[in-house]
């Protein structure tokens, strides 16, 4: 009787989970895999093969865009880690109890503001008639208005801005658990600041670093608004290609191929990151 009820409740609890994962995640992914292998030979007629992938490889614009998206995403992830780590350490370890919560909240505020508002803010700041250009002219550093939008540096700055909070939050929650006694022990045993950092702090923060890097990388590679609005028409970001194929050209076969490639690429990088650091998805990302 008791175990029957247990079984029934297990089935009832399992049902929404199974429906969700199967219908909204697994089958749709298989769906784009299927469409990516489909080649249109005539109206309503299809053959199957790797033709779409061959087309991708045969067109340098496509794979250059993917490579560009890839290395810029990796660059943004590294920058976000370098920029975010000191801030996370400050919040978790150095700030006083009271200001710690305030700083953490301050960190979270931009997180709740849409990407679009943030990108729009950068546009207002950086365009030719923008605040920065105006300030530089006022200070006499430049003679005429200068366009600071539509270049790679701006795109990278904007992307780091968009994702750095997703780096800081997991880092803070990991570093928060670190006992200060560990650091003192390190110093007492004669370790220099650098040694303590490398041998104690970094290994301790590793789950947070990995979680932050995974989320950051994935968000960057999959971002759409920031590269397009700050990089302009020539930003050549891979998600833009996907959008163009799907919505503008209505070429779903090519779009699905690009989608599979982007997903394959981000999964590969995330898997490599987890393997190299000996972490698992469940223990890093799910922790916060």
């Amino acid at each position: 009787m008791r175990s029957d009820a247990g079984k029934l409740s297990l089935i009832l609890l399992m049902a929404p989970f199974a429906l969700w994962i199967l219908l909204l995640i697994v089958l749709p992914q298989l769906g784009i895999g299927y469409v990516s292998l489909r080649e249109k030979v005539g109206p309503g007629q299809f053959t199957f093969g790797f033709g779409n992938y061959m087309d991708f490889l045969g067109e340098p614009i496509y794979w250059n865009t993917l490579l560009r998206t890839a290395w810029m995403s990796i660059l943004v992830t590294i920058l976000a880690l370098l920029v975010g780590f000191p801030v996370a350490y400050y919040i978790a370890k150095i700030a006083r109890q009271r200001s710690r919560a305030a700083l953490f909240l301050l960190c979270l505020i931009p997180l709740w503001v849409s990407d679009l508002v943030r990108a729009f803010g950068w546009i207002v700041l950086l365009r030719e008639t923008g605040l920065v250009s105006g300030a530089l002219q006022w200070a006499g550093l430049i003679s005429g208005p200068v366009e600071l939008l539509y270049n790679d540096v701006t795109v990278v700055i904007g992307l780091v801005y968009t994702v750095v909070l997703f780096m800081i939050v997991p880092l803070v929650s990991t570093l928060d658990g670190m006992d200060d006694a560990l650091l003192e022990a390190g110093y007492n045993l004669g370790g220099s600041r650098f040694t303590v950092f490398r041998r104690i702090i970094v290994p301790y923060a590793m789950p947070g670093i990995v979680a932050g890097c995974i989320i950051t990388f994935m968000l960057t590679a999959g971002s759409y608004l920031t590269p397009i609005l700050l990089g302009g028409k020539n930003s050549s970001w891979f998600t833009e290609q996907i959008y163009n194929q799907f919505i503008t050209r209505y070429n779903w076969e090519a779009g699905a191929t690009f989608g599979v490639l982007l997903l394959g690429f981000t999964s590969l990088v995330i898997w490599l990151g987890l393997k190299l650091t000996g972490q698992s998805l469940a223990t890093t990302v799910a922790k916060d």
Binding site: S9, L10, L13, M14, P16, F17, W20, I21, L24, I25, V26, L27, P28, Q29, G31, I32, V35, V83, P86, V87, Y90, I94, L106, C107, I109, P110, W112, S114, L116, V117, F120, G121, W122, I123, V124, L125, G134, Y161, D180, I215, M218, G222, Y224, L225, T239, I242, Y243, F246, I247, W252, A256, L262, L263, T266, S267, I270, L281, A282, V285, D288
Partner: protein
Amino acid sequence: MAQANKSPFLTFVYRSYVTIFFLYLVAPLLAAGVFAFNDSLFPALPWQGFTLDWFFNDTEPKLGMFHDERLLRGLKNSVYIGVIVSALAVMAGTCNAFLFERKQFPFKNALYVLMVVPLVIPGVILGISLLVFASMIANGIDAATGVNVKWLRPGIPLIVLGQFSFLTTITSLVIAARLQKFDIALEEAALNLGASRSRVLTTVTLPFLFPALFSAFVVSFLVSFENFNTTLMLVGSDAPLTITMYDRVVKVGSTPVLNAVSVFLMIASGSLALLSVLIQRKKD
């Protein structure tokens, strides 16, 4: 304290760095905010004086956001989508939390990883895969029965499904974290005292979970509200606010009414987030 080892100079450098970082964080938000109040047709200097026209004025060319039909419709759609998808995601998330915290079943670890996976799939991919899958089903039904299933075509129902697909992971994790802290002895005590299972659930367990349920709802609502990537691929004729704003930026260019919407969004989402933090804190 770790701080004791630092020289005053290094501490100063460190402090300045953190200060500069926070300036970097607020700079674009401030820039977006300030020009909502500039009495000019462009969100740029020079400062022409303070005005609230971009919120409340009802005539062109300075049409305020509260009189702009399309923006208001976008806002309404966003709220509608946000409420539905958050309610669904909280319900599914609660089931998932009980499933993974309370039950034992085969392949539990593998399924747990599967539950986390939607968080690491780029939003654009979630969008196109659902678009493709829903169209395949709709085309199949159309070919077999001649019925055109409207809600499987781009539009609000698909946006809800698309956002639900990754929000459920977030709500599951938030609620599971709270359920983990629950002392199962409380439930056992209530059962021993003769309460039925459903009564225990509604009077003991769910009240304990309430702060997590509430903050999961708020988080999903905010994430849904600001979501762009997944929504972009699934949007039909009823566009939510982010898409409407994006259209405006691309087609019309930046106008101060967008600054006004930004201010409105910052205030609204800021107070919602704060409310959720306060409720969470009070109960802890």
